[in-house]
Each structure stands twice: as C-alpha cells, then as structure tokens.
C-alpha cells in the first residue's frame, strides 16, 4: 500500500496502458465484454485517482506524490512527476471523464469497439501524463502524442466531415505545439548557457534569466502553442469542426480535458517561465479573452447545430478562464482553476446529452427537435441542470468559477471585466433558447414521439457530473483549499516582476511606434 501511494502517479499513468494489454486478447467480436471491461477498468482508474485526493495534503503549495528518475541524462531530462492543487483536480477530472465517456459510448460506438476503447485508454494515459509531468520534455512528449488517439477518435468514429475535422485539429494544434517547442528548447538552451547544465526540470528552468525583449518573443512562441489548444479567439476555428464531428466520447474528452491543457500550459509553463512578458502581454491576452467570451456567445446564438452551439459556447467559457488567469489575482486564478473543472463537467455533460439526443433522433439540427420534455422527464431534468450549470446559475458549479474570475479580474481590468461579464447574459440567451427549442413546445418531429427516457446506464453516466455540479456549487471548499495555496505560491513567485510591467509596456510601445 505504501508503495502504491508513493508511486500513485505512475500507477495512474500506466494503468490504462496495462488495461490495454488486458483488452488486447479479447476477441473483437465480443463487444459486450470489451465495453464492460474497459469501462470497469476506467472506473478502477478513477477510484485509484481518488486516492490522490484523499492523500493530498491541503494548505500547501509543495508538489506532492513526487517521483523522480533520470530518464535522458544527456538532455537533463528526467521522469519527474508531481502534482499541486491545480493538477490534482485536472487529473481527477480526466479519470472521471474518461470513465464517463466510455460509459456513454455503449450506444454511440457501433463499429470497431475494440480499437475505440483501446484508443480511449491510450488517450487517458497521455492526458494524465501531461498533467503530472514536471519535466518539460516529458510534458511535451505526453502533450503532443495525445493528439494522435484523439485524431483517430474523431476521424474513425466521427460524423459528416470527420476527416477534414480530424486533420484540421491535428495540424492546427501541431503547428502551435511545434512553435511552442521552439520556445521551450530556447529556454532550455538559455538555461544551459547560464548554468552549464542541461535540465528540463521545470522548477529549475523557472530560475532562467531571460531578458525582456527575449521574453516577449518566447512568450509569443509559447502563447501560440497554448492559445491554439485553449482555443483563444482567433485560433478557435478548429474547435467547432472537431467538436461537431467527433463522437460523443470524443467531444466530452475534447471539451472536458483537452482544452484544459492550454490553460494548464500557461499556468505551469508560459507565465512562470516568462513572467515579465506575461505581465506585459496580459492586457493583450485579456483583450483576446474578452473578445472570445463575447464572440463565442454571439456566434452560439445563431447556430443551428446543437453540437456546434455547445462548441462555440466552449470558446466563450474558455475566454472567461483566460481572463481569470491573466488578471493575475489570486481570486481570479482560483476562479479560473475552478472554472476549468466546471467547464469540463458542464460542457462534458452537455455533450453527453447532445449525444443522447443524436442517438435517439439521428439529427443534431435544433429545428428537428421539440417537445421532448414531455416524453422524457428525467432526461429533461438532468439536461436542464447541465444547461444551467453552463449558464452559470448560482448554486451550481459554473457560478462559483465565473464569479471568482470576474471579482478577481475587476480590480485590474474593470472595463474589460464588465464587457466580459455581459457574456453571462448571452450565455443565458443561447443556452435557454436552445433548451426551449429542443425540449419544450410541441412535438414537431415524429421521431420525438417515441423518444425514450434515459436508461440506468445513461443516468449513471451523467450522475457523477450532476452531483459534482451541485457539490461544487454549494461546497467548493474542498477544492478551493487545495487550489488556493498553489495559486498564492504561483503569484508570489511571479509578482515581483509586476513592478517592471510598466517599463516593458513602455518599451514595447516604443519599439512598435
């Protein structure tokens, strides 16, 4: 047990891979076993990850569950894992959503079940690795390979223009990642030049001295990689396509976990490595975030496709998160981290419901629905809760995050925060309008007449998410008390660079002029 706890992160990361080997001998025709076994294994993984939560010491910013071995001594790269309050919850979110999305796919994935479950488990490994890695090279390894399973999931089980979407997704994010890689390599080399040691240990790289001008350039390089992943306006156009065509499980993971990596990257890498540039460019990033909030909301309003609507709503929500992060106040960053979870939970749930609608009606066009509430009360109730969580209704999770973000951001950027906050109005507009057109009013589509309510499996699929929506909404302290120390430490580590912020601003202003 002691060994298990000490190496819990490695166990978590590699358990899905081991699961794959358990699944490999299963005959591909035995879909029942494949589905249930993979779901069970992902549940076991989720339960393992709960140990992280149990044994995680709150009220400290120190990395926990640290594991460190030499990996590539020549590059100074090590197998260095560890989590703080931020990555803890992202890992929990990942294991939960993987379980949920596997459970949700029983009806949706009809072909090549074996390949599907294997890819999902493979994806889980890489997602967990990305969150746990404290070594830049290790991080990058996990970060980029993650694209591949996701690419297959979209391309093989997607709908409509799936290949275009999958390829667009990969190329878009890959381009960003490679530019980001350049920035990371550059910092790595700079650190070598200064100390004479090769190291990819992120904690050591934080101490690299980088001149202001260089920070700006490197920040832009890292920014591209992370911003595309988030996706920040105007790098978002891969997202609606990928989300729309992906299978339900793919959309859930994409929205629930993959989008988080961009923000996580900023939090773990871009800002602490290049604090001065981060402070100097924060207004610019916040501009983009606020534009993204409104733009996503506006475009959502006129969408005709359910999934595309939810996808654009992600653009809007991620804008909030970036606003919170770059406002650089403890409150707003706490809010951003909470909101990362919330977005994963709420948008994940929305995709699950849209998936259920699609499974039953074989359409995603909003106009083809209507009057479903009457046929499926449980579905309606749970779907509504998810919609409201996404709207940011107080008492549910979304509110806590958005409120903290806005409260925290308000002091530094009052006008932009107000503009961004108006996004909560539009969120209500597009989501409730969608909900009304889909669920309420009379039945127009004959297919809706035989709309089945959720079965037990589907209820179990969404139930953890629904419970979390209420739990975070009413009692976020277990989350906040773990996140807050991390965030405070994050800020204390970079805050002394804030003093030069105006100077840099002046400089860049001059050089631009």
């Amino acid at each position: 047990m002691d060994f298990f706890i000490k190496n819990l992160l490695s166990v978590l990361i590699f358990f899905p891979v081991v699961s794959i080997f358990l699944l490999l001998p299963v005959n591909k025709k035995n879909e029942w076993l494949l589905r249930n076994l993979s779901t069970f294994l992902s549940l076991v993984e989720f339960i393992f990850s709960l140990y992280l939560f149990i044994y995680f010491r709150p009220n400290t910013y120190k990395f926990q569950f640290v594991e460190k071995f030499n990996w590539i001594p020549s590059f100074g790269a090590s197998y260095f894992l560890g989590i703080d309050g931020v990555s803890l919850f992202l890992i929990l979110l990942t294991t939960l959503l993987t379980f949920v999305s596997l459970l949700s796919s029983y009806r949706y994935i009809k072909t090549h079940v074996k390949e599907f479950v294997i890819l999902m488990l493979l994806l889980e490994t890489f997602m967990l690795g990305t969150f746990a890695a404290l070594d830049v090279l290790l991080f990058y390894l996990f970060w980029e390979f993650m694209l591949i399973p996701m690419y297959f999931i979209i391309g093989m089980w997607g709908t409509g223009n799936r290949v275009y979407s999958a390829v667009k997704f990969v190329l878009y994010t890959l381009s960003g990642s490679l530019i980001m890689l350049f920035g990371l390599i550059y910092i790595f080399i700079m650190h070598y030049d200064q100390t004479g040691n090769f190291t990819f240990n992120i904690l050591r790289l934080y101490n690299t001295h980088i001149s202001d001008g260089l920070q700006l350039i490197l920040f832009i390089a890292l920014f591209l990689g992370f911003a595309i992943k988030i996706p920040l306006f105007p790098f978002h156009t891969w997202l609606p396509d990928a989300h729309t065509e992906a299978p339900t499980a793919g959309s859930v993971i994409l929205a629930g976990v993959l989008l988080k990596f961009g923000v996580y990257g900023f939090f773990r890498f871009a800002i602490p490595l290049l604090p001065r540039a981060a402070f100097a460019l924060a207004p610019f990033v916040i501009d983009l975030s606020v534009i993204g909030i409104l733009y996503g909301a506006f475009v959502s309003i006129v969408q005709k496709d359910l999934k595309r609507l939810v996808a654009f709503s992600s653009v809007s929500h991620m804008g909030f998160i970036m606003l919170g992060l770059f406002a650089m106040s403890a409150i707003s960053i706490d809010g951003s981290v909470i909101q990362l979870l919330n977005h994963g939970i709420a948008t994940g749930a929305l995709f699950l419901f849209v998936g259920m609608l699609y499974e039953r009606m074989h359409t995603r066009q909003i106009k083809d629905f209507g009057g479903i509430a009457k046929k499926a009360p449980i579905f309606t109730a749970l779907f509504m809760i998810s919609v409201l969580a996404s709207v940011g209704l107080p008492g549910l999770n979304g509110f806590i995050g958005e409120f903290l973000i806005l409260v925290g951001a308000f002091r530094s950027y009052p006008v932009l925060t107000i503009i961004g906050a108006s996004g909560i109005i539009f969120a209500a507009v597009y989501l409730l309008w969608m909900f009304q057109r889909v669920m309420f009013q009379g039945v127009t589509n004959p297919a809706a007449e035989n709309f089945e309510d959720m079965n037990l499996r589907e209820i179990i699929t969404v139930l953890p998410l629904i419970i979390l929506m209420f739990f975070i909404g009413f009692y976020p302290m277990p989350f906040l008390e773990r996140i807050d120390p991390t965030v405070l430490h994050f800020l204390s580590a970079i805050n002394h660079h804030k003093t030069v912020y105006n100077l840099i601003k002046l400089k860049t202003g001059l050089s631009n002029a």
Binding site: G335, V407, F440, Q441, M477
Partner: protein
Amino acid sequence: MDLKILITWLIPLFPLSGWLLWGLFGKYFKGLSGYIASGFVVASFILSVVLFFIVAYSHGFTDTLYPWVYAGIFKTGVSAVIDRLSVIMLVMVTGVSALVHIYSIGYMQGDKGFSRYFSFLNLFVFSMVMLVISNNLLLLYVFWEAVGFCSYILIGFWYEKKSASDAGKKAFIVNRVGDFGFAVGIFLLFATTKTLNYEAVFAAVPSIPAYTTTIIALLLFAGAVGKSAQFPLHVWLPDAMEGPTPVSALIHAATMVTAGVYMVARFHVIFSYSPAASEVVLAIGTFTAFFAAFIALTQFDIKRIIAYSTVSQLGYMFMAVGIGSYTAGIFHLISHAVFKGLLFLTAGSVMHGLSGELDLRKMGGLYSKMKTTAITFIVGGLALSGIPPFSGFFSKDAVLADIYNKGFYFAWVVGEITALMTAFYIFRLIFLAFFGESKLDSDKHAHESPKIMTIPMIILAAFAVIIGFLGMPPFNDSLFYSFLHTDFKNAYNFAPFVNDTPWYALSFISVLAGLSGIYIAYILYIKKSVDPERIKSIFKPVYILSYNKVYIDEIYNFLIVKPLLVFFDFLWKVIDVKVIDGAVNGIAGAFAGFSVKARKIQNGMLMSYILTLSIGAAALLFYYFIR
C-alpha cells in the same frame, strides 16, 4: 447549537428537503406531495413566527453555517443575518407561501406535473428564505438568481405552450440583464471594500468616495430593476402571467418581485450615502408606478391587469425607499404582498371557475356564482385602491405622506394620480368581471372553487383588512415603525422632513383620489352613463399607446434583438467561416498550389534535371566568388 440558530437553519431546510423529495421521488407520492409540501412550508412559517418573537423580544444575530468560498482575500461563508427586517420578511414570505401552497393543492389538482410543481414551489420558498436571511452579497446574489430561476421554470411550467416557455425564457434573460448590473455592482463593492459581508461593507461605506458609492448603488439597483420589474426591464412580468396563477400570486406579486425593494432596504447604508442614486431610485419608481398604471387602464386580461398593477405598486415601494423611508417601503411591501397575493389567488379562482378564461370581455356577472371569490376580490381591490380601513390605505398613505413631507412634490402628485388610476383599473376589472351581464360562452359554467382554495383566500382577505392597523397613522408613531426603524438607524438621513403636514390631510387627498377612481369606473361600467367607447375615441392615440403597452416589446425587438441577431449571423457566417477559417484553409490551399508548382520541376526530363543540378552548382560557385 443554539436553539435560535437551529430554528434559523431549519426554516430553509424544510422547503429544501421538500424540493429534493419531490424532485427525486415525486412520482411515488402522487397527490400526497401537495399536502406534505404545504406541511413543510407551514412548519417553516411556524418557525418563522417563533423566530420573529425571539428577535422581537431579544435582538438580532448572525450565524455562519459553513465557510463557502475562500479564495485569496475573498472570503464568504454561508451565513445568515437575523434581524427585525429579515424576520418580518421571513414571516411574510413563509406565510404567503404556506397559503399559496395550500391553495395550489386545489388549483393544481389533476395536473400531471403535480409533484414537479410542488418541488419547484418548495425550491422557490427555500431560495426566497435564503435570499432574505443571507448575510453577504454573494449569497444574496446566489439566491437572487435562484429565485429568478424558480420563476423561470414556474412560468414555463406548462412548457408545451410556446408562449409559456417563451415567457419563462424572457423572464430569465431580462432578469439576467439586471443581474449583470447587480453582479458588476458586487465586483465594484468588493474591489472597494475587500469584503462582501453586510456588516463590514456597511461599516466601510461611509469612508468610500461618494461617486463610487453612487456607482455601486446604481449598479445594485439595476438588479432590483430587473427583479422588481421596474421600467425599462418590466417587460417580463406581464408575460410571466403564463405561469400557474398561484405562482403569480407567490412569486410575481408577494415575494420575489419585492426582493428588489428588500435589497434596497437592506443596503440602506449604501443608498442613503448616495443621495444621487436614491434620487434615481425615486425617479424610476415614480415613473414606473405611473407608467404601469397607465398601461393597466386598458388591458382586458385579468392577470395582466394585476401584473401591471404589481409593477405600479412596486414603483410606490421604490419611491419610498428612494426617499429614505425604508420602513414605509417595507410596510407597503408587506401589505402589498397580502392584498396582491389575495388578488392573484382570487383571479386564479375566477380562472379555475371559468376553465382558464382570462378575458374580461367574456366575463360578467360572476358575483352571483362565485360569492366568496367576488367578496375577497373586492376586499383586495379596495386594499389596492387605498380605501380605509384596508391595508393598502395605511401603507400607501405612509409612503405618500413621507414623499410629501420630505418635499418631493412632483413625485407626490404623480403618486396621487397613479392612485386614482389604480382605483380605476382595479374597479374596472371588478365591475366588468363580477357585475353586469354574463358574457360567458354557453359551455362554461362558472362555479365556486373548493374550500382548499377559498380558505387561503379568506385568510388573506382577513389579513388585508387587519394588517394595515399595524401602521396606524401617523405612521411614524405606529407599531410597525417602532418595531422596524431601529434596523435603519445607520442610514444617512439625506432627505430630512421639510413639512409637517398632518397625516389626515394627506390621507384625505389619497382617499379622494381612490374614491374618484372607483367612481369613474362605476360611471363607465356599471351606470354606463358615459360610453367607454366614446372616451376611447376621444383619447385615441393615448388609448392605443396604453393598449399596446407603449410598444416597449416591439421597440426592444426592433432596436436590439433583430439588429443583434443580424450582427451575430454576420459574425458567424462572414467573420468566422469566411475570414478566420478562410485564412486557415487559404494557407492550406496555397501550399497545395505550391506543391503543383514544385512537382513541375520534377518533370521527368533528364535534361532539366541536369540543368537544375548545374544551375545549383553554378549558383553556389557564384556565391563564393562574389564574396
């Protein structure tokens, strides 16, 4: 745990458990859920009364149930403030809720969403109770929105009707607009004072700059404008009548819509330190009172008339709190809750008797068929019109007297004119519906409602008669005033009394206005000595304006909704698809073009290969020789 603290938290706990119970297991309870739900709320009511007496005979207190959101310096708990203001509100909220619950058992009998209805209703009571007792702005905001949400689902309770679900959505979104302002106000407040706890905020307010206070107050007031349906965000309330009538009684008359007034009263420190903001409150209140009454004059839908009347009466309350007469405002709030709840319940009873008919033009002569309903309705009408000794007289008079004595003569004049109009439209309704000839469709047989509905009506009617005496004039010596005004002792007295006109002089004018309104209605609709059509044609433009609700909805639709939708469509179809995505795809296309060109070099001809090679070599040599 201290007993009073236990009681405090039990009050919201009852309806909360009711909600969970019906929400999760509603279908197993069937008809029983209504009784148990009512029982829960009655229990809350009894506890509220107990708490009321505890507070009345000792003093208020605060308690934190558990730490809620701690992020950096942002620290808020789930905490309650129990003072005289909140216990009064608690008693009113739980009391009216209990009656409406009981009434609903009869009203909603046989509806297939019976359990769902009570679960939502319980949720609403929970939210409203929490709104009243919350001790910090974040918690207040949470339940501020939560009651809005309950209103949304209850308005759209019959979701199969497009108009119902539209109305619910509209209510939610319009409220969100107000809440947006409210939220920004909270941000600014937090940014200025670093706290959201009432006590700490109030302690800090006197020391913050006046213009900041004004901005904060105005932003908070924006929330009140939305929630309490004041102009220009009043548009949702009339549409909200799509919901079940008891819901209108509870949410859209007695409790939720008054939350705005409660909030201003609760934040009297902030508002009183900003005379400018208070003036805005007064102005908006005054205008809305008049404006809504003006629209109510010509409507034919009973519920809409009462709804506009609610908007108008809320205007009175804002007038009161706008001049710093917080006690008077709360008094009008309480008495209005009783008589307006009563009016809605009786209107519901009428609907119930007429199988859902709401059009005045199709009623008439109901008095003989529904005596209890008619009498209680008339009691409510008299209270609304401000005829002594009904409660409306005392409360409205308290408000108007303060307005006059504090020197806001214009507002006072408008208030009196509105009082006249109020009496007119409500008695127009009464006369058209209960008297005269029956214009009912032959297939509709009006009948009295069951006891379970009439008893709550009678109880409310009784209260509508007696509750006014709590504010026995002169108001500033009354029981109610002496009980409550200590809660407002921290307010800055920005509008001192300038006159000392005796209450009976002012009351005389008010009563005169009310009576003349009734008389005009009597002439027009009972005596028919003047043909209403003639009046209509004389004031045709005014009539059309009033009848069409001053075209506010159309203006919003034309000026805001449609242009925005066109703009959003443009954003998506042009900016997103063509510009951004077009650029991305364009780059890909360009590379494909390059590829075609590049492959042309590889044309299969040996000669060109050799030439390429030689040119390459020559270029390299050239490069090194020119260096």
